[in-house]
């Protein structure tokens, strides 16, 4: 089996391939619904370098979720290019998209989305199983990540036995297990109280400090304030793309 990750596009210069986690070029996403066309994204371009921490903001209906789906390889843009570590993934098959999600992207959802029938350890391991990575090394890695998010003593607990903040930390550990190029967090603190929100944001920040690229979708200013860079969307276009002056770059 060959995967896209194994051979890089020659069209891209080495410099770009090395520096950028991903790059979107003039992305359009149009929904066709009952004779009506909705332009959810109309010409979005930006790139994200390795080690960046960016927040994507915007009012409701501005296209945040649509952009998240494209960036997460859950959806394909109607036109435009999406270059992920050097490969254009805007026109590939469902199978290849699945493989890329499993290998290169770490998802953190608003409602945690842990699997109820599995314990902490097994939940963290799920992405590895779809890569065929199981065994001692995988278990060791999951244990280390559980320690990293501060749940080393809870690895045999079920999600129902954990608090919301703890569940979200398990989800973060899970998003890291496949060594993704970037972590895609969708309103990751939306269900948490302010204290646990702080804890989770601290965790993201420390991950970023250790080199992880983080893309955070949020509508809360306090959450966006922790990012190094903020992109604002409006009507499917980028309204502003600025560095966060309050945070050391």
């Amino acid at each position: 089996m060959t995967h896209l990750a194994d051979h890089r596009s020659d069209q891209l210069d080495q410099n770009a391939a090395g520096d950028y986690a991903f790059r979107v070029e003039n992305i359009f996403r149009t929904y066709f619904l009952k004779g009506e066309t909705v332009h959810a994204l109309r010409g979005v371009s930006f790139d994200v370098r390795n080690g960046e921490y960016i927040a994507i903001m915007g009012p409701s209906g501005s296209g945040k979720s649509t952009l998240l789906n494209v960036l997460g390889c859950l959806d394909r843009p109607t036109s435009g290019r999406y270059l992920l570590d050097g490969d254009d993934v805007s026109k590939i098959s469902d199978y290849q998209l699945s493989r890329i999600r499993g290998r290169r992207i770490g998802f953190v959802f608003q409602s945690y989305n842990l699997l109820q029938q599995l314990n902490v350890m097994e939940n963290i391991k799920v992405p590895l199983q779809y890569q065929g990575l199981i065994g001692k090394d995988a278990n060791q890695k999951c244990r280390e990540l559980a320690n990293l998010v501060g749940l080393g003593d809870r690895i045999y607990h079920r999600p129902t036995e954990l608090s919301g903040g703890q569940q979200q930390r398990v989800a973060i550990a899970r998003s890291l297990v496949n060594d993704p190029y970037f972590v895609l967090a969708d309103e990751a603190t939306g269900n948490l109280d302010s204290k646990t929100t702080e804890e989770v944001l601290d965790l993201f920040e420390s991950l970023n400090n250790s080199g992880k690229t983080i893309v955070m979708i949020t509508h809360e200013d306090e959450v966006a304030a922790r990012a190094k860079r903020i992109i604002r969307l409006r009507d499917g276009k980028i309204e502003s793309d600025v560095l966060n002056q309050d945070r050391p770059q």
Partner: protein
């Protein structure tokens, strides 16, 4: 690969355990299907095995020619009190002289007869036979000895086990004399218990050897004779009817099993020339065996069809449950897709989950099916203690025999049901839109 497979099986078990009652009820259909197949086949095999054993007792190389009482009524001599029918000593001679390839022919005459000793009586079957009768019917001597050529025409008798017990409950019968009709006979031997053999010549009862009494054929002819009078009816005066029969049976043994059918046909043709009425029957045990085999196959085919239907119903139940599961777990499917599961991963997951469900029902059914022997014996014993004699003898003597093919078949079908009825729900799960699935509440 293998480790991954077991991981998926493990996941399937864990997912099913989330809703134990539901999974249990869904698997129940398969459980009942598989155990029913094994039970019914075991019962059927038990019945047919016994039938086959009894037929084999008759000898696969034998052609049995038996006297049959012709249908009464409308006969040429309706008011005659004596009926003459059956095989003749002349038939025996004709068979021996005219038919090639026969190893031996053994004549026999049997009749109901009362044996007496002091105030004890036994309603025995008095069998006039020749020396080979012992070996032919696989009888064994318990004590004393069997008839020998020197006994021909002499008043000696060998008692079967049960007959001996009735006349001599406490004593050794050997050397003692008993009344056979109006004459004394000396008991020279006693046979061991012997299981019954198949019914032949129209009667449905199997041949029970345990109430027999054997005397030389020549003695029977000379001292008892062919004509036996029987008192019938009540009221005043004596009312007798008689039957005049020379031989009850001639057992013809051929040299090779392939010659059985042809020999039987020749005998049939030969006898037809000399008998005006159908007062005999030619029975080929091998043919009986083939018939029994055909009956058994038909029965088994019927069972498999019924089992197939019940497993189909079980399978539809399983599919129903799995469709509900897929709907309920739409969110999980979305999450798994986001975490890298391909469509085939999802298909594999739900297919294996379905197969785990049906296979556990199937395995439990097989285990219960395998316990048919002890469970059946237990039920029989329970019924016996509550009301003895309520079981028909066919059930009483039935020993279920588990057929390996029925175990493998029902297990295979339950796995197959899992695959067939799991495909649709699994595909439905795999083709959900991951974005929609993730949004699902």
């Amino acid at each position: 690969m293998i480790a991954q497979f077991f991981q998926t099986v493990d996941l399937g078990i864990k997912s099913l355990l989330v809703q134990k009652l539901r999974a249990g009820l869904a698997a129940l259909g398969i459980f009942i299907g598989t155990s029913t197949v094994i039970w019914l086949v075991a019962m059927g095999e038990g019945v047919s095995y016994r039938a086959q054993q009894q037929i084999l007792e008759l000898g696969a190389k034998n052609v049995i020619v038996r006297t049959v009482k012709p249908n009464a009524g409308g006969d040429e001599d309706a008011n005659s009190r004596v009926k003459t029918y059956g095989l003749l000593r002349a038939d025996y001679r004709r068979i021996v002289e005219n038919i090639p390839n026969i190893r031996r022919a053994i004549p026999m005459r049997e009749l109901k007869f009362e044996l007496r000793l002091d105030d004890r009586t036994a309603d025995a079957k008095l069998v006039g036979c020749v020396e080979e009768y012992l070996e032919l019917n696989r009888l064994q001597i318990a004590r004393g000895r069997w008839l020998s050529p020197r006994d021909r025409g002499k008043k000696v008798i060998v008692l079967a086990n049960e007959t001996a017990k009735r006349l001599f409950p406490y004593e050794n019968p050997i050397g003692r004399a008993i009344w056979v009709g109006s004459e004394f006979y000396t008991v020279i031997g006693q046979t061991k218990d012997r299981t019954a053999s198949a019914a032949i010549g129209g009667s449905l009862d199997s041949r029970d050897y345990n109430l027999d009494a054997y005397i030389p054929l020549k003695t029977l002819r000379q001292r008892v004779g062919d004509l036996v009078m029987k008192r019938v009816g009540g009221g005043q005066g004596f009312n007798f009817v008689g039957e005049d029969v020379e031989l009850s049976q001639i057992t013809v043994e051929v040299n090779h099993i392939e010659e059985v059918d042809e020999t039987a046909q020749i005998i049939e043709t030969l006898l037809r020339k000399y008998h005006e009425t159908q007062d005999y029957a030619v029975v080929v045990p091998r043919e009986l065996l083939r018939q029994a085999e055909r009956t058994r196959t038909m029965f088994n085919v019927l069972l498999v069809v019924i089992a197939g239907i019940s497993l189909l119903v079980g399978g539809i139940g399983i599919m129903n449950i799995m469709l509900a599961t897929v709907t309920e777990r739409t969110r999980e499917i979305g999450v798994r897709r986001a975490l890298g599961a391909t469509r085939s991963d999802i298909i594999g997951q739900f297919l294996i989950e379905t197969v785990v469900l049906t296979a556990s029902g199937g395995l439990a059914g097989v285990l219960f099916g395998l316990s048919v022997g002890p469970v059946f014996r237990f039920i029989k014993r329970a019924i016996m203690t509550i009301s003895p004699d309520s079981l028909p003898p066919i059930v009483d003597s039935l020993e279920p025999r588990i057929a390996m093919w029925s175990v493998l078949l029902s297990l295979g079908i339950s796995l197959g049901v899992g695959v067939i009825f799991g495909v649709y729900p699994a595909r439905k799960a795999a083709y959900l839109d991951p974005i929609e699935a993730l949004r699902h509440e």
